[in-house]
């Protein structure tokens, strides 16, 4: 976290642009010298860079996030307002992605050679869809065309469907590819062959034996995937006008609002670390070998 905060601090200091301008009506402000000076002082930007750095670290360590340069409210408030919406979006998208991936995997395993080809092609196409394009196509079809769902977030469940699908389809495709590979590998192992020899059917083999193997790498990937959903949120929240961390980050970067940028990155880093632990725990639960290995 210290590394993340430091990297962001350095990056924000290096990119061109002056955060004072953000507070004075955007870059290219024509405010007077006195105004610029007063604002610089208010934001503490008149101090040397190294002092700013340590005071920022100190504030973070003590849980004092400071105020947003641009919005003039505490950073904790900015993050607090945005975090729940992004969390709902990311969790829903992750669940939906898993549902998509599992469905594809089961279909592939039951559908034989041809089924596997079709589902793996579907998975591959889904995995390569860019969020931006996908989001707009979904709007064109389901909001403008069919009129089933609102084009922009309406605060309710219906408004959540298209943003979640936009994030879940590519991720689900990606997870499905991993699972399909896992199933294929497992089917080639000795235990699978012997199970088949005992007369186990395709479905039983998948359910009792190979799926467990296939799911393992996908579980490990999911903690990483949840992190990337935060990146995807930048696009999805803009297209569907949802409140959230992604949009907060986007506008903070545009305005060089350093306290907000640092806070979003640190929060994201914490989420990554927590998800990493959860991913490990889940993998251990799915894979008994790991449990025994550590209990010994």
């Amino acid at each position: 976290m210290w590394a993340a905060a430091t990297a962001v601090f350095v990056a924000v200091s290096l990119i061109p642009g002056d955060p004072v301008e953000a507070a004075l009506g955007g870059p290219g402000s024509q405010a007077s010298a006195a105004t610029v000076e007063a604002t610089r002082e208010r934001l503490g930007l008149d101090r040397p860079l190294i002092v700013q750095y340590f005071s920022q670290l100190l504030r973070m360590a003590t849980g004092q996030w400071g105020d947003s340069y641009a919005q003039r409210i505490p950073v904790a408030e900015v993050i607090g307002q945005a975090l729940p919406a992004t969390a709902v979006l990311a969790v829903a998208a992750l669940l939906a992605a898993w549902a998509i991936a599992l469905t594809l995997t089961v279909l592939a395993a039951l559908g034989g050679r041809r089924g596997r080809l079709v589902t793996s092609a579907v998975g591959m196409v889904a995995a390569s869809l860019p969020h931006f394009w996908l989001g707009l196509v979904l709007v064109a079809v389901f909001a403008t065309g069919l009129g089933w769902l609102p084009a922009v977030s309406d605060g309710g469940g219906a408004g959540l469907v298209l943003p979640v699908l936009t994030l879940a389809l590519p991720l689900g495709g990606y997870l499905a590819q991993t699972m399909l590979d896992g199933v294929a590998d497992a089917e080639a192992t000795a235990f699978a062959l012997s199970a088949r020899a005992r007369g186990e059917r395709r479905g039983g083999l998948l359910w009792r034996h190979t799926l467990r193997h296939a799911v393992l790498p996908a579980v490990a990937l999911s903690s990483w995937a949840a992190g990337t959903l935060i990146g995807g949120a930048v696009v999805v929240e803009t297209v569907f006008a949802r409140p959230g961390l992604g949009r907060v980050l986007l506008s903070a970067v545009t305005q060089r609002d350093a306290p907000v940028i640092v806070a979003v990155v640190v929060v994201t880093a914490v989420v990554f670390i927590v998800l990493g632990f959860l991913g490990d725990a889940a993998a251990r639960w799915v894979d008994p070998r790991g449990r025994e290995a550590t209990s010994r």
Partner: protein, 550 residues
Amino acid sequence: MIAHPRPRLLAAGALSLVAVLALSACSGSTVEPDASATPVDGGTLVYASGDAEPDCLDPHVGGNYPQALLATQVLEQLVSRDAEGTIVPWLAEGWELAEDGLSMDVTLKPGVSFTDGTPLDAEAVARNIAHLQDPDTGSSTGYLALERVERVEAVSDTVARFVLSEPDSALLESLAQPWLAIQSPAGLDRGTDENCLAPIGTGPFIIDDWVKQDHISLVRNDDYASAPADADHDGPAHLEGIIWRFLPDATTRYAALEAGDVDVIDNAQPDAVARAESDGGISDIDAPRPGSVNRLELNSGQAPFDDERVRQAFLAAVDVNPGIESLFAGTAARSYSPLSSAETAAYSDEAPFAVDVERAAELLDEAGWDEVGSDGVRSRDGQRLTLRLPVSTNQSIPAEVSLFEQIQAQAAEVGFEVTIDQLDLSSWYAALGANEYELVSAPYTKLGPDVLRILYHSDGIVPAPSGYFANHAQIDDPELDDVLDRASRSQDADERSELYTAAQRTILEGSYILPLYDQQNHFLVSDDVAGVRATDTVSTVWLGDAWLVG
């Protein structure tokens, strides 16, 4: 005001999606509301803005266009401007300039109160001007407009005297801008942080609640009694309230309008405007912003454009009309003036922009750029004829970027190498500040022809403390300076208009700019709403006369 940032991150792909949208759109109501129908009271209108959500709703702080859009519903100015360009009464019912031009007495409308109950008096006006001029407020746009105002004195309860350091022919135009709106002194006393969340004014609506990143809800001011002279009706608004939403993506914003989720959108893109016109059910309000047009400025401060012949060659080499017609789908008219068509003082001349590719080549030969490399790029003494064009993706919509690419291709025909660099707003200003450009498009919004002084007076080459300077063409012409100075001090309307015409002629004939079109500002309005119009001041939308049709 400098053209403000708009979120354009995702706009690039929107064009390619028009086809998909057109295929999937099978609805499209054709119900025509009866425009002469009697207004109906009640209901809530949903407005969707494509602009960035303001950080502060008090337009005194900073001062950009998104703030002005919202402030137009909530706050009011001393004066307004009507469609003929005449300054008309608003919170002020009259004004009188002293003979020496060094003071102006403004008489306030009697009996007006702010929505917190504080009466509007001359002290309140003085307090507002002081607030704008206080460095701690952080005003940029409003502050700049008050450059020549030394102070405001309350002569009586209803008469406020503006004391000037020198005559200012643009003062009334300045005061008509939303960035100089008059707010409740009690509201200002709460301090910037609190006032930013809900400034208190005299306008037709009151800020009720602001859910950041989502919406601002406005409720009707039931005691409203100070409509500007150019409003359609007096008294409280017809609408009970407004939900003011922020929908940054142009495609979904239009989809939401089409689906009936919202009633009015701003920042409508050319493809959406063209589609609304053909589909029906939605009407377009074409409200170009005042001040400058969108134009390419040729940096005459350094080589190669310090040579007038090279500037003339560039202008003769590029034909922008077909591109504007096709890329903007017929929604933007070509301009031949430095000033917006919203300005009655605008002077046009097509002659300096006649296209003549052969003449362009001759001019470049004459100017010494006569060595042509294997890639077709000219050079002189080993210097390539390169023109750097930094483009702000916040300000140039995709159609404009495409137009620049066409210009790039046309200029290449005669041996210019135009390099287009798409940058985010901060990096773009940094490039301008470092003088790393030969061409740039930087529209500027301000009420009245005095914008010419900001943009083309040699004082504008000196950077502001932020590093910003407004004279991107870097015109340094003492005669032009003198004309602009005299115009800004002139007490005589005819003389003023003659001087501004002369100034525009100098700018056009000097080949410093390539005017393209007005600063595009289209609002799309659902036919379920009537009485919506754009103001004739800074072309923000005015919802004080709007109502929902049955």
